[in-house]
């Protein structure tokens, strides 16, 4: 058996190598060409760190460790194999698991050290447990909404923000009391229970369209709570991994909030105070022009340049494979087909890209918002599939609109706009979309998957004759 000193040294070395591999892992994520190498680097780093930790001299009992590692693997494998459309809820669920781990370890550490917890350690431990607990229930709620086991509509009531912030504030105050008086051990459960309640309250007013921001925010919280755990355990690897994850979630949250024209404080406090319900207004019965699959097919077939704008509706009806067929049949005819992707389209950052990649659409055909907007003026047909608010020109023109100022995809600059939509109901934000009443817009009413399928049938039938 190794001496205690030698094993500690060895563990430190594996942690050092793991840290380097983690940073390389994220660096290699910058491009699809090197990204898989990034995953391998991450896996190797993780393997080294876990193997090193198992050598820790203080470990007396391996039986439970082995059982827990095996059980975790058994749960993890199916979570790694979910359908691509279920990735947002899977991600939310994994934030919950990460936060659960951090909260449990923090709680155990507190009771091992109580009643004499040094003030600094109590402060970071409080942060770890508060962030961990609220991320745990918050992420479970988000996963429930995304999986549609919970109502997706935002639920708001008067004084909601005050109640929510009060719950969190009390938790922080209790933590502060514990920093000064760690011998008041009986107070500890409060800094777990109150944030657990806050996590639920925080997600109740969140609607589907806010999910990309909220998931990013929870990602950041999960990272920061892990970093706080690193402070408590004096483990640099954990501090670094938590800081990297926190930074990643932070950057994504900022991106998402910019893409929705939200202020930064609005993001930090979990997208509170969206009075979305009030915007719904009276249903208008202005005339729209609708078209059949046959008409849509002949317009698309005659175009030179088509930009497809996918949204959450494409994910819901699982239309991405039919969209791939449409892409194929149009490309074969010499039509230039590209995709314009809004940063908040779908339910998490990058959601649409993953679905389109799953359907085998080459990623060099996927354009970010700014590139797409440079292209719409030369575009014959903009085909909107299950996206609404991200194409709403009211964001540019109508200062009274709740989404005024939000950057959108300027599909209305294309020569013809076609919108595949189930019916005339307003989008998630409940905001009417003037695009639909424009005289260059054709509404294609129906389920995205079957409608795109009919267009493909028309186009491939027509090609033969």
């Amino acid at each position: 058996m190794m001496s205690e000193f030698a094993s500690t040294q060895l563990i430190e070395v594996t942690y050092l190598i793991a840290t380097a591999l983690f940073i390389l892992s994220l660096k290699w994520m910058s491009s699809p060409a090197t990204a898989r190498r990034g995953v391998w680097a991450g896996e190797l780093g993780m393997l080294l760190a876990v193997a090193g930790t198992l050598l820790h001299h203080g470990i007396v009992d391996y039986k439970w460790l082995a059982a827990a590692l095996v059980l975790g693997t058994i749960i993890g494998v199916p979570l790694g194999k979910v359908a691509m459309t279920a990735v947002p809820q899977r991600t939310a669920l994994s934030h919950a698991f990460g936060a659960l781990c951090v909260t449990l370890v923090g709680t155990a550490e507190f009771y091992l050290r109580a009643p004499s917890v040094p003030p600094f350690m109590m402060a970071v431990l409080g942060m770890e447990v508060i962030l961990g607990s609220l991320t745990f229930t918050g992420s479970l709620m988000a996963a429930g909404k995304l999986q549609e086991v919970l109502p997706q509509r935002p639920i708001t009531y008067k004084g909601q923000n005050v109640v929510n912030l009060a719950v969190l504030a009390i938790a922080v105050i209790v933590a502060a009391i514990l920093v000064l008086h760690p011998e008041r051990v009986y107070l500890y459960p409060l800094i777990v229970i109150l944030p657990l309640i806050f996590g639920v309250l925080m997600i109740i007013p969140i609607g589907g369209a806010d999910m990309p921001t909220v998931i990013s925010l929870l990602n950041s919280y999960a990272g920061l709570s892990a970093a706080a755990m690193g402070f408590v355990l004096d483990n640099k690897l954990l501090i670094i991994a938590g800081a990297l994850d926190g930074a990643s979630g932070f950057i994504l949250s900022v991106n998402m909030s910019k893409a929705m024209n939200r202020s930064f404080s609005n993001v930090l406090f979990g997208a509170f105070g969206q009075d979305q319900a009030s915007a719904a207004g009276g249903a208008e019965t202005r005339p729209v022009r609708s078209a059949s699959a046959e008409e849509a097919a002949s317009i698309l077939g005659a175009a030179n340049k088509v930009v497809i704008v996918p949204g959450y509706g494409m994910a819901v009806s699982q239309a991405q494979h039919k969209v791939r067929e449409l892409y194929d049949v149009l490309t074969k005819r010499g039509v230039d087909v590209r995709f314009g992707i809004h940063p908040v389209a779908g339910r998490m950052p990058g959601h649409m890209n993953v679905l389109l990649a799953e359907a085998d659409i080459p990623y060099d055909k996927l354009m970010e918002m700014d590139d797409a907007n440079g292209d719409f003026a030369q575009t014959d047909v903009a085909l909107v599939i299950g996206a609404n608010d991200v194409t709403n020109p009211a964001a540019r023109t109508d200062a009274s609109s709740p989404i005024y100022g939000m950057p959108i995809l300027d599909v209305d600059k294309a020569r013809t706009v076609m919108v595949i939509k189930r019916g005339m109901s307003a989008g998630f934000a409940g905001i009417d979309n003037p695009l639909y009443y424009s005289d260059k817009t054709l509404m294609l009413f129906g389920d995205a998957k079957s409608f795109v399928g009919s267009i493909v049938r028309e186009l491939s039938g027509g090609a033969g004759h």
């Binding site: 491009s31 699809p32 203080g58 007396v60 991600t91």
Partner: protein
């Protein structure tokens, strides 16, 4: 255990800057796999849980530590698996003739 506060804060700050600079360069194309990857890396918290459960100081700490290992391990395994599955799907139009 000595709590070397200042060194830890330095490490946190530098890692935050590195994270910011590195992740800023990640293409929005890969933001979903980025999130599942950082999630898997974040599950390195498992090392804390392993020591907690393995040292077996009290039954309470061992039970919490064991549950924590299960939660973190499922994130490691599931996170790396799904990230790799997603990344495998990203292809350019070049090599594949239409």
């Amino acid at each position: 255990m000595k709590l070397d506060l200042l060194t830890s804060l330095y490490v946190f700050m530098l890692a935050g800057f590195i994270g910011f600079e590195v992740i800023r360069r990640v293409s929005p194309l890969l933001h979903t796999p980025l999130m599942s990857l950082t999630n898997a890396l974040d599950a390195i918290a498992v090392v804390g849980a392993i020591i907690l459960a393995g040292e077996h100081k009290t039954n309470f700490s061992t039970i919490l530590g064991t549950i924590a290992i299960v939660a973190a391990t499922s994130n490691i395994v599931g996170g790396f698996l799904i990230t790799d599955r997603m990344l495998k799907m990203f292809k350019v139009s070049g090599p594949k003739k239409s």
